[in-house]
């Protein structure tokens, strides 16, 4: 269970990225975080694993107050939060296997990781995960040889090998084509279900979010404007989140396509 209490982030420039965000996400729930660019979506998930330190407020994961941790404690807790990135953020010059195993860095000492002597248990798990995301044959390829969809699958495997309790997913599909986007979203959601994982997925594509998640949170100027099931995203709600636009047409059209896609 992840709890955010009045989480606020003010950047040194004075920009208020988040204002009093209070949320509760039970374990196993997949949440889509939508909102216009600059609404604070990325800041929000980075405040949870403290790649960005929040200005005030609390983030609590299973009774551990993340916002109060020292650096050693923070590293220990980061192991329980897998992160997936927009541009994949794989280490391009390392192999797929090394990238997946880098998810275990928090559990392995420096020299072991430096000489790539990961415990056999971790290597087994890496092979299992690569098989699960359909990249077993690619284990020895360098990350920069893969296509976008394949790279994101490696990113997913890297996050899952951490054995996390929570997935933080930052625009997983923004650099992918529509078909690959759906496959990636489906994969993330399936894996969350298999492992009873909670996830926060930042996403621009509202229709795609509606297809896959059970709860949507809408953010505008760092303030939560909507929190409810995907069916609750009416044109009016989208207008409060994104601003005035003809939402009805766009969403319904895409929605029907998506439904067919899911059925078929």
């Amino acid at each position: 269970m992840l709890k955010l209490e009045q989480l606020t982030k003010v950047y040194p420039t004075g920009d208020k990225a988040l204002t009093d965000v209070t949320l509760e996400i039970p374990s196993g729930q997949v949440v889509a975080l939508i909102g216009p660019s600059g609404a604070g979506k990325s800041t929000l998930i980075r405040c949870i694993n403290r790649l960005v330190s929040p200005s005030s407020g609390k983030a609590i994961l299973d009774d551990v107050e993340l916002t109060a941790l020292g650096s050693a404690g923070l590293r220990r807790e980061r192991r329980r939060m897998g992160m997936i990135f927009q541009e994949y953020a794989l280490v391009e010059r390392l192999t797929v296997m090394e990238n997946v195993l880098s998810g275990r860095l928090g559990y392995v000492g420096f020299w072991r990781s430096y000489f790539r002597k990961f415990p056999q248990k971790d290597v087994d798990e890496a092979f299992r995960l690569l098989d699960r995301v359909g990249l077993l044959a690619m284990a020895d390829k360098r990350a920069d040889e893969l296509s976008g969809g394949q790279r994101q699958r490696v990113g997913i495997a890297r996050a899952l090998i951490q054995d996390p309790a929570l997935l933080l997913v930052d625009e997983p599909t923004a650099s992918l084509d529509p078909k690959t986007s759906r496959q990636i979203m489906r994969l993330i959601c399936e894996l969350c279900k298999e492992r009873d994982l909670a996830a926060i997925i930042n996403i621009h594509d509202v229709a795609l979010a509606q297809m896959f998640v059970e709860r949507v949170i809408g953010l505008r100027f760092g303030v939560v404007q909507f929190d409810g099931p995907p069916e609750g995203l009416t044109p009016d709600v989208l207008t409060t989140i994104y601003g005035e636009e003809d939402w009805k047409e766009t969403i319904q059209k895409v929605d029907e396509e998506d439904l067919q896609d899911v059925v078929s």
Partner: protein, 272 residues
């Protein structure tokens, strides 16, 4: 403002308006005057008789220097080997020392921006600002003449060069890869080994062979000040006006530099 209207009310566009055009001309005029003044200074300080005489003297030295004294090669093998060793070991030691300095100097990896970074930058600047020949002069006085002084001179001069290029490479890395490794709960050193080192490895290899290549050239002259290597023979031959030996030494240096250039091109091609 390049855009203005003429008296008929039409919009005209010029690259510069009248004032900046005048300023431009004034700048050129000023530059020309300075050039002429400096030229006059140099001209006054030159014995033009020697200059006009130069082609004849050069031809004279040329005829004395050719053909090279091939038999002299036997005494050159050892100094050329010393020269290669000075360059190679000097580069290796410089790299070992440059890596930590670069990490301390790069904005995104330095532990402290206000104290440690300026110190690292100071090391880089002071190493770079003094030519290796001058380092060699100093070191010959300090540690005594010989190969060791030459190697130290090359090392000290190269630290700054390598550290500067390396810290620029570190500052240009893709930060999202570092972020991703940090997010796994990796320690500071692990982030360095997984997030940063793979990204700067090609730059590091390029810098290493580039500097080695430069150092081969530099180490050929270190002997002039007594810091070992083939420069010692060059100086001796020049002092005794043994021109056929000088031409042979220059030829040997040329071949050594050509080989080093070939090797570094190969290595760079293989790594990147």
């Amino acid at each position: 403002m390049p855009v203005s209207s003429n008296k008929n009310g039409l919009k005209v566009w010029q690259r510069r308006d009248r004032n900046s055009q005048l300023l431009n001309w004034a700048g050129w005029l000023f530059g020309t005057i300075i050039f002429l003044y400096c030229w006059a200074q140099i001209s006054d300080a030159t014995e033009w008789f020697f200059v006009w005489d130069a082609p004849r003297i050069a031809a004279d030295i040329g005829t004395r220097a050719l053909p090279p004294r091939w038999g002299y090669i036997g005494t050159l093998w050892e100094p050329i080997w010393d020269t290669l060793n000075i360059a190679t070991l000097g580069t290796l030691f410089a790299l070992v020392l440059a890596v930590p300095v670069a990490f301390l100097a790069a904005r995104n990896t330095t532990p402290n921006r206000y104290i440690i970074r300026p110190i690292a930058l100071l090391i880089i600047v002071s190493s770079r600002s003094i030519n290796s020949l001058i380092w060699a002069l100093l070191l010959v006085a300090i540690v005594g003449p010989g190969i060791f002084a030459g190697m130290l001179a090359i090392t000290i001069r190269s630290i700054g060069f390598c550290a500067k290029l390396l810290y620029e490479a570190i500052e240009e890395i893709d930060q999202s890869q570092v972020e991703a490794i940090t997010a796994t709960g990796a320690s500071r050193w692990q982030v360095m080994a997984y997030g940063i080192v793979p990204q700067i490895l090609p730059a590091f290899a390029g810098i290493a062979v580039f500097r080695w290549d430069i150092n081969i050239r530099e180490s050929t002259v270190l002997g002039l000040v007594g810091a070992g290597g083939i420069g010692l023979q060059l100086q001796g031959s020049l002092n005794t006006l043994a021109w056929p030996q000088v031409s042979l030494i220059l030829l040997v240096i040329l071949v050594a530099v050509l080989i080093s250039e070939w090797v570094s091109a190969k290595v760079r091609g293989a790594i990147i």
